[in-house]
């Protein structure tokens, strides 16, 4: 009997990463109204409400409050949506059982990580770009250091994508995931200086803010617009890079071990 050969010869290693990445991007694109348009609307509502209520508040970095708020809202949208993409995709696949198709494939833990986090970055950045495009008409915003804007947007979305991956792996139920989103990610972003400069806080809370990694992402991102920030952008970059390295290492270790994925 003739021996059957797989379509791809053994000697050729062709990565499954592009297909998994495309699938993850297409997954959120198919429901773009929910995954992209809705977060843009939410951010615009924040701007309209807070921008109106605090319109007469003192200028920050020499700019009106709405201008200060917009970069914070953009970054908050990037971070929250990057987290939501990996975490919701993974928990849905785990609960419905279709993750088995990915686990049966010859994908390494690095390819798995790169595809999920890469797609999360695309969603986060798409939402961020959408929020920016809509809100930029509400205030005059400078672009003092665009490179910093790109660096913090890319690294921040990667960090939250990786955190979402860990949350998706660890959660067994939707409400466990909702808990991490509502009790960790949401407060950490809200209390990171999106809506205020941390120098307006009492001394104790000012110190506490320095332990919040989200603060460095927002502050560094904002530096790219205003050329001014609460701490040096280099300081923020180091803090963000350390967090990204730690979270990446944890996520890759979980995937390599097959923690909660392969029994």
């Amino acid at each position: 009997m003739e021996q059957v050969k797989p379509l791809l010869p053994e000697a050729i290693i062709q990565s499954g990463f592009p297909a998994l990445f495309r699938k993850e991007v297409k997954r959120f694109y198919k429901v773009a109204f929910q995954t992209v348009a809705a977060p843009i609307l939410t951010a615009v509502l924040y701007l309209l409400i807070f921008g109106h209520v605090l319109a007469n508040s003192p200028k920050i970095y020499g700019y009106e409050y709405a201008a200060f708020l917009i970069p914070g809202l953009v970054m908050m949208s990037i971070l929250q949506n990057a987290f939501a993409n990996t975490s919701s995709s993974l928990i849905q696949s785990k609960i419905t059982g279709n993750l088995v198709f990915v686990l049966l494939a010859p994908l390494s833990h690095i390819e798995f990580f790169a595809a999920y986090v890469g797609a999360a970055m695309i969603r986060g950045l798409s939402v961020g770009l959408g929020v920016f495009t809509v809100t930029i008409w509400f205030a005059k915003i400078p672009f003092e250091a665009p490179l910093w804007i790109c660096i913090f947007a890319l690294l921040g979305s990667a960090l939250l994508g990786a955190m979402g991956l860990i949350a998706g792996i660890c959660a067994d139920k939707f409400d466990q995931l909702a808990a991490s989103q509502n009790f960790v990610i949401m407060p950490a972003t809200m209390l990171s200086g999106v809506f205020y400069s941390i120098h307006s806080l009492p001394p104790f809370w000012l110190q506490v803010s320095h332990f919040n990694p989200f603060f460095y992402m927002i502050d560094g991102f904002r530096y790219g617009f205003f050329g001014q920030s609460d701490v040096s952008p280099y300081h923020s970059l180091i803090a963000l890079s350390i967090c990204l390295l730690i979270v990446t290492w944890v996520a890759l270790s979980m995937l390599k071990k097959g923690y909660k994925l392969r029994h």
Partner: protein, 253 residues
């Protein structure tokens, strides 16, 4: 080289012994049946072959490749049809098969995907969303997904559970053609008449151990319960293998 080599595989879940030193050699081109009552360890063995679960000890090789150490090549040799009717509700049938093919590094595989869909009567559902398919159609897509990379070894975990007669027959015709073309088939099923008519060799598992392993013909001849008249294989075979199965399970401790 064996299609599947399973050597002294053990797997415990806490105090539950799922696999207790299972060893099997399945030759290339065989149609092999893996039978046993619920909880015997069939699905654990299959998930161990597929790398979905890590055995505590022992070795599993697919076409000579260790499923843990050499997982990239081993998984390309294996196609698994899972027991549960699982699907991704975001995509159409064609997208599902195209992505699955891509995971195996095959990005331009439309000709083979079209051929599989034609063989499984899925062509006119190619652009239908997975959610809109009937249970039988979803089952066909599961089979198609297992075949997108044309694996030499195909494992079917209870593929006809809850499937109507028509689909069952067309599915077995297609799987038999694949077997005749050289694919090794490993089948678990609770429909013993299917196992008897299709499988050349059968292993029976009970509480994680292999309690019988022989050709179907020999099993029927050796373990015929007392008082049962001799029968030719295929002549009312369902009663034969069922009786043999019940006898072996009762005798093994």
């Amino acid at each position: 080289m064996s299609a599947l080599s399973i050597r002294a595989v053990k797997k415990n879940y806490g105090n539950l012994v799922a696999l207790d030193g299972v060893s099997l050699e399945i030759k290339q081109g065989e149609f092999f049946g893996l039978l046993g009552p619920n909880g015997a360890g069939k699905t654990t063995l299959i998930t161990s072959m597929a790398g979905l679960c890590k055995p505590d000890s022992g070795v599993i090789e697919v076409m000579g490749h260790d499923v843990q150490k050499d997982f990239r090549i081993a998984r390309r040799q294996l196609g698994v049809v899972p027991q549960e009717l699982v699907f991704d509700p975001f995509f159409t049938v064609r997208e599902t098969l195209s992505f699955q093919s891509g995971y195996f590094g095959l990005n331009k595989n439309d000709d083979w995907i079209d051929e599989i869909m034609a063989n499984l009567d899925l062509t006119n559902k190619a652009n239908a969303n997975m959610r809109s398919l009937s249970g039988g159609m979803k089952r066909r897509v599961l089979v198609a997904q297992a075949l997108v990379h044309r694996p030499p070894v195909i494992v079917l975990d209870e593929p006809t559970a809850g499937v109507d007669v028509e689909l069952r027959q067309s599915l077995w015709q297609f799987i038999s053609r694949l077997n005749q073309a050289g694919h090794t088939i490993v089948l678990t099923t609770h429909y013993l008449e299917e196992a008897e008519s299709l499988c050349g060799r059968i292993a029976m598992l009970k509480q994680g151990r292999v309690v019988a392993l022989d050709t179907t013909e020999n099993l029927l001849a050796k373990h015929r319960p007392p008082g049962m008249p001799p029968k030719v294989l295929g002549d009312d075979g369902a009663a034969d293998l069922e009786a043999v199965f019940v006898k072996i399970m009762a005798e093994s401790k």
